[in-house]
């Protein structure tokens, strides 16, 4: 069934169809419509699980973790300050190997206060051990929720579906939703270990030695490695059933390209448009969209970019004192590449400013005509 719907409501509908046992949440702009829609769903008797209306995001994540350990499918949603407040529990969720699924609606972090799209909130959770998927539009947001539950519950790691404030959260687009039976086939009823069995008591979260700690971390890292394969398999299976697939990355006309533009999330859509126009002008430019950020799909990225000499990366985020975070990740992933690279990072759309096709073309022209590639980022000014 197709609905004309905001990204937030698309996420809420996908969550309903995924049948979580526990939804624990707390309001924050611009995530709130997800929380409200799920509350309406519960009030109308159409939510299978229990809604916990928490007193903070920190407690919401704590409740999701313990409910997940009990064996429930769990979901929460947040943004910005809420995600930052959760930070301690994000590490905890990954350490407990709980497949909690979260929708993170990217929003600027204070100070200064603002409400617009900026990816630094989710990207600064990079090292918490969460799987992160960055989505391009409302359809991908909904579809990624179904995939996130499947991936998380297979590898036993938490998964974040990241959608941008306003551009996805509040903009309306037509979204196809599968029938409940189709979802049930793709995502069967929850079957997680029930860690609190009174017939077989155990202790979850005991203190460990140095060596045991290292061993646990190594196991989690291996699970992240497994996630690369799992996410690909899950996406393939999803495509076979629903006719839509996204991959870990997506390469558009990258073969024989003089320059490849690397993007994530909504900037990708606009870049597709800019690409067409540049190609029509005879400029050989390709596009690489990064959808899975953690684990970083290094092999997939290298298979596309190893032969490419010139790369421009657009980031709607910044690690202050360094550069855009996708850019840093990309440089690290390509450091063993046999072909010498010239990589230029561009900061565009930080603070939620509009990144239109003209700005993207300007970036491509700048990179193509650049004599020296700087280690730091180039700040692009909005029109």
């Amino acid at each position: 069934m197709s609905k004309f719907i905001t990204g937030n409501h698309a996420v809420a509908e996908a969550v309903r169809l995924s049948r979580p046992g526990i939804v624990a949440a707390y309001p924050i702009t611009p995530q709130t419509p997800i929380y409200e829609k799920l509350s309406e769903t519960e009030a109308s008797g159409n939510l299978e699980g229990i809604m916990m209306r928490m007193e903070s995001e920190h407690s919401a994540m704590a409740a999701c973790i313990s409910a997940s350990l009990t064996g429930a499918r769990t979901f929460t949603a947040t943004s910005s300050q809420g995600l930052a407040l959760m930070h301690e529990m994000l590490h905890f969720a990954a350490g407990a190997r709980t497949p909690v699924v979260m929708a993170c609606v990217n929003r600027t972090l204070a100070l200064p206060w603002a409400f617009w799209s900026d990816q630094t909130d989710s990207l600064s959770q990079r090292d918490t051990g969460w799987i992160q998927l960055y989505v391009e539009n409302n359809q991908e947001a909904a579809d990624s929720i179904f995939q996130a539950f499947r991936i998380a519950e297979t590898v036993m790691l938490p998964c974040m579906v990241v959608l941008e404030a306003n551009f996805i959260s509040h903009f309306m687009e037509p979204v196809d939703f599968p029938e409940p039976e189709q979802v049930n086939r793709f995502l069967p009823a929850v079957s997680l270990p029930r860690r609190f069995d009174v017939e077989n008591p155990g202790f979850v979260g005991a203190v460990v030695t140095q060596k045991q700690y290292r061993q646990f971390r190594q196991l989690s890292h291996e699970a992240m490695g497994l996630t690369l394969e799992t996410a690909e398999e899950v996406d393939r299976e999803f495509e076979a059933i629903f006719g839509r697939g996204y991959g870990l990355i997506e390469a558009v006309e990258t073969e024989n390209a003089d320059l490849v533009l690397v993007t994530s999330a909504t900037i990708t859509s606009t870049a597709r448009l800019a690409l067409k126009r540049l190609r029509a002008q005879g400029i050989r430019v390709g596009l690489l969209k990064i959808r899975l950020f953690r684990p970083f799909p290094t092999a997939a990225v290298r298979s596309v970019l190893d032969p490419v000499a010139t790369i421009a990366v657009i980031d709607r985020n910044i690690s202050l004192g360094r550069e855009g975070i996708f850019c840093s990740e990309l440089k690290a992933a390509l450091s063993n590449s046999p072909v010498r690279k010239r990589i230029q990072g561009y900061l565009a759309g930080i603070g939620g400013t509009d990144v239109d096709d003209v700005l993207i073309e300007k970036i491509v022209q700048d990179a193509l005509n650049r004599e020296t590639f700087s280690d730091g980022p180039v700040w692009m000014e909005e029109d």
């Binding site: 916990m52 973790i65 009990t70 009174v198 155990g202 005991a206």
Partner: protein, 292 residues
């Protein structure tokens, strides 16, 4: 006389990692015995989580979860609700947190759970300071008390956690201490029989932090009650107060003089503690009279 057959099974097993004579270990043993083995227990960083044992050992024979410091209540609530989605309604979920994890860093999460009337039993094991990290002041440390971070005595009053919990109108709140084992276990059983958020404020002497001998936990706990420093009572629905033990109202000095952490007290300070204890005791008795 109790025979071997009648002796209740202990859920807290011997060989745990508490200090010798620990009041908290004694309290845990009583709470778990009264709760029974069909229960899930949440612990948070505190002496209790250390007593629970290092991996792969576990001192308690119930399913246990060592959550983060400030989320004992939220974590217990998550388990309680998740069990309900599995059709399990007869397994109580108990949270153990220290005074730091309750009065200070965990107060928000506890207040949230109490506000939602989550179906959990919350036991605050109050040893009046951060004893697991050494001996530092918390908002449960009484006035004038020595700790490592109040070397000349604590200037703040002890936070009135029972009044805070009563204000949430939770179905059941009670004070208890290991010096009165029957009273303590009776309260745990009563809490178990009620639905909703239940709170037990359990005073737990710390031999190290209170500077008392290894065999003095029960006596010190007993004297806290008999001097009205820590009266034993319960509050139903946040409104109805009931004393569960009639104390002999001995002078506070009989309690304070047992503990090295009060060695520095002047006569004026002892008098001030007596005055405040008398005022609070009178206030409590009035509430109990109103509630009956």
């Amino acid at each position: 006389m109790t025979t071997m057959e009648e002796k209740p099974m202990d859920i807290l097993r011997p060989g745990h990692s508490a200090c010798p004579g620990c009041g908290s270990a004694m309290s845990m043993r009583m709470v778990l015995r009264a709760l029974g083995s069909r229960a899930v227990v949440v612990v948070v960083p505190s002496c209790v989580s250390i007593i629970a044992g290092p991996f792969p050992n576990a001192s308690a024979n119930v399913p246990m979860y060592h959550a983060a410091f400030e989320v004992a209540a939220a974590s217990a609530a998550g388990i309680s609700n998740a069990l309900k989605t599995q059709g399990i309604h007869d397994i109580p979920v108990l949270a153990f947190a220290g005074d730091g994890g309750t009065f200070d860093i965990g107060l928000q999460s506890l207040s949230g759970a109490a506000d939602r009337n989550e179906d959990i039993v919350y036991v605050c094991v109050d040893n009046e300071g951060y004893m697991n990290t050494g001996i530092q002041v918390s908002s449960a440390t009484p006035q004038h008390t020595w700790t490592g971070t109040t070397p000349t005595g604590n200037t703040r009053r002890k936070k009135q956690i029972m009044e805070i919990m009563a204000a949430h109108r939770i179905p059941y709140a009670a004070t208890a201490t290991a010096g009165f084992p029957e009273d303590l276990m009776e309260k745990v059983k009563r809490a178990k029989s009620v639905k909703g958020t239940r709170f037990i404020h359990l005073l737990s002497p710390c031999n190290t932090g209170w500077k008392i001998a290894e065999d003095m936990s029960p006596k010190t706990s007993f004297m806290a009650v008999e001097t009205n420093i820590f009266p034993l009572y319960e509050i139903i629905d946040g409104l109805h107060y009931r004393l569960t033990h009639k104390s002999s109202s001995q002078p506070v000095e009989a309690y304070l003089s047992l503990q090295g952490r009060y060695n520095h007290l002047s006569k004026e300070q002892i008098r001030a503690i007596q005055t405040e204890t008398d005022r609070a005791w009178k206030d409590l008795r009035q509430k109990c009279e109103r509630g009956s």
